[in-house]
Symmetry: none
Subunit: 325 residues, 3 copies
């Protein structure tokens, strides 16, 4: 679809959240279709996890986003989908790869939302495809267990914070979940949640550096808990780490199911977004360093530094490997 | 309502699809109101057909669209609505006729969607009005039968196509039908479908000529099949014909009712859109000729030429008639 | 236009904010048209104030909103517009008056946004109309001066609040002002701001009483400061008063013009919303009493009580007057 002014910031760069939402919609369609390809109980595919996603090049207003999706692995109860996004300037014909994303879906019964159904197996053209898929499946399963731990943290407000401290840029947003945010099962689309998370992360980044900013990457996101129609969700973001030219923002999504249910507020999703600041010519700018004050802030800064160095090392290894081939 | 940046392309011209959607909403309101004006089973008017619609002058961001609708004929089971759209520049006060559209609606029972109800007859001020309406009714009925044939065709993707070939500009878009796309009966509003069709046709046209393009007209559209909430619809467009200054694009809408129903993908709607390319001053530009390769493409080009010449002849006849009056 | 699922809460009642946005759009169109009806510098009418607005009967999904607007008074630099909203059930034909709103607009030059232009005078059919209009004009002018004082207050966050306290339900939302929120001058439409304010007020009310709630009325809102495209706005709401069956919520809008400008965050708008809680049959329910803790909260509660009693007395006086006529 064509990118519109509302999909973009003032500098004309399309919000990462808009792209994440399109990716998830494509993933939901292809995996729901696959899970219903054999006779049996009808189901809706629910997003369980998105792997780390890099934004390789910014997309602009007026460009067309081409989204293609393919099922690359199936386990007994889950589907792995690979989604590619190309930006196309239809005036010049130029095309660029914008994103490569990997998503995991689980089929839930249309009649009983708590029942996970079986996934029809796909055919692999080569045995290795299946083995590699199985390896990715096991890895993400482990990682999902780990993040469940991290979920207890809460963002506390700060009164009269100093510029460039964590409290200065932290932000939160409330959203009442409406019908068009939801799947047929009455639960929020994963893509809608990711779009709101990117919105908050973007505001945190802009408040910190007061320049034009764009999403550079999103760490793996696990969707542990479903969010129901009619909930109020609070999306909060705080900066955890800055390198010379990037900012890492942690985002939490909490759901208040206050209408029908006796249930308490719960943490539904959390993730790390990385942003960069761009000059008017589109080049990365240095960002002000984050001032950490409390022990927790210092610890989170170090953890963020760890993730940053790990990602950097991984990228360099990939580039060397690519150079040798 | 005021036209906003999201309603328009980068050059500020409002998308034909936005206008078609407003027209259909006005038509649906007036015909549903009329069909329920007498005691009896409540019904919702469903769009059955839109007659050929010309876009007489482009509308711009900031202008106000004034939409007025009137019922001009009723048969036993259908309602003909005439909708006029005026664009008003509220700064200068200038008003221009943008569109005159004719739509046909059929009342479906609110309780049983497969039951077509009877339409309360309207009063005509002159006998000729009724006779002319009856003639239009018979004509569109014939035409609806004919288009049912054409619906088998499918758009195949082309690898590495040459510029200005059919394969080069053909495009498709998928859309998951959500609650706010639908009427009270849970079926997609005709206006929503037309807006998506115009979006795809616009992308095809822009890919072909790489300039600013606007909708010039839409051929009659027949809505043979309803599309239900929860469907995935695929909207595909390909160029069929170019004259010196216009492009004809054929658009198909296919629905995948994959959730509840055992039904196969089906063709829900198809139509021809005509686009022109505009210079920065708003004047029509020459467009590159479409290169046809296969026998089918050549045949469709000739058919498109036939439609083009027929429309041109009709318009000239109307202008002569107007000049003589 | 037809009310859609997205315009309403889960119980099917259309959000007061959606209606306020429609009212403001109608007011902006008619007053911009009027201000440009004579030769001279082109201008865009900017919303300066909305008088107290009551929501007389709830509107539901599937109903059609009929909005009509009329200019009822002009001073040298301002226009008073009366907007009526009727809800129409197009299945039964039943129509009900939903709102009567009075809005004040000021024409700003399209070339120089800081220049207020003159308003062409309207013709009155009776001399009393002009006198009554002048009286309303003088009253609102006084009231606008008064509210300017109140604007310094800030909502501080509360950690681990008890149910039914002020801190328990207070909420805030951030919104990045995009192009389709704005007028031709690049400033946020008053209607967009009011819709967001109603959204926050509704969440505060729902958090307090955990039932289905609807907007009952909005006190006069003054728009002292314009909000520019690209700003981040923070909309915060806190409960100030509860009667047996109603809740009063104070809402603040603060703008952060952080991108281009050296300016600090400023208070752009503030207002009081009154909500009621509805049973499944649509009858008003008792609401839990607000627990006030601090001196400020107790003072605001008393002030709210004053407003509540004043409104009640005014309504009874009107009913007696109506009964005597």
């Amino acid at each position: 679809r064509i990118m519109r002014p509302d999909d973009a910031n003032i500098a004309g760069n399309v919000h990462g959240g808009t792209i994440l939402k399109m990716i998830e919609e494509a993933g939901a369609i292809i995996s729901t279709r696959h899970c219903n390809s054999q006779a049996g109980e009808p189901s809706v595919a629910a997003l369980a996890r998105v792997e780390r996603t890099d934004f390789l090049s910014p997309m602009c207003i007026g460009e067309v986003a081409n989204v293609s999706a393919e099922i690359t692995y199936t386990s007994r109860h889950s589907v792995e989908v690979q989604v590619n996004v190309m930006s196309e300037n239809i005036l010049t014909g130029a095309k660029k790869l914008t994103n490569k994303a990997t998503l995991w879906y689980v089929p839930l019964s249309l009649k009983n939302v708590n029942k996970v159904l079986e996934v029809p197996p796909i055919q692999y053209t080569r045995k290795e495809q299946e083995d590699e898929g199985k390896k990715r499946y096991e890895e993400q399963k482990l990682d999902r267990l780990e993040t469940k731990q991290r979920n207890g943290d809460v963002i506390f407000p700060v009164i009269n914070p100093e510029p460039h401290t964590v409290g200065y840029s932290q932000s939160s947003l409330i959203h009442l979940v409406g019908p068009s945010d939801c799947t047929l099962l009455g639960f929020v689309h994963g893509g809608v949640t990711m779009k709101l998370m990117d919105e908050v992360a973007g505001i945190v980044a802009a408040r910190h550096c007061k320049t034009n900013i764009v999403t550079a990457s999103v760490d793996a996101i696990n969707f542990h808990e479903k969010i129901k129609k009619g909930c109020v969700i609070t999306i909060s973001g705080r900066m955890t780490f800055t390198s010379n030219k990037s900012m890492e923002i942690e985002v939490f999504v909490d759901a208040d199911p206050f209408l029908d249910e006796p249930r308490e507020r719960y943490r539904a999703v959390s993730a790390f977004f990385t942003y960069v600041s761009l000059s008017k010519e589109g080049k990365p700018l240095p960002v002000p360093q984050l001032l950490t004050e409390t022990e927790d802030e210092k610890r989170r800064f170090e953890e963020g530094k760890g993730r940053y160095l790990q990602t950097k090392a991984k990228r360099q290894a990939q580039m060397q490997q690519a150079a040798q081939q």
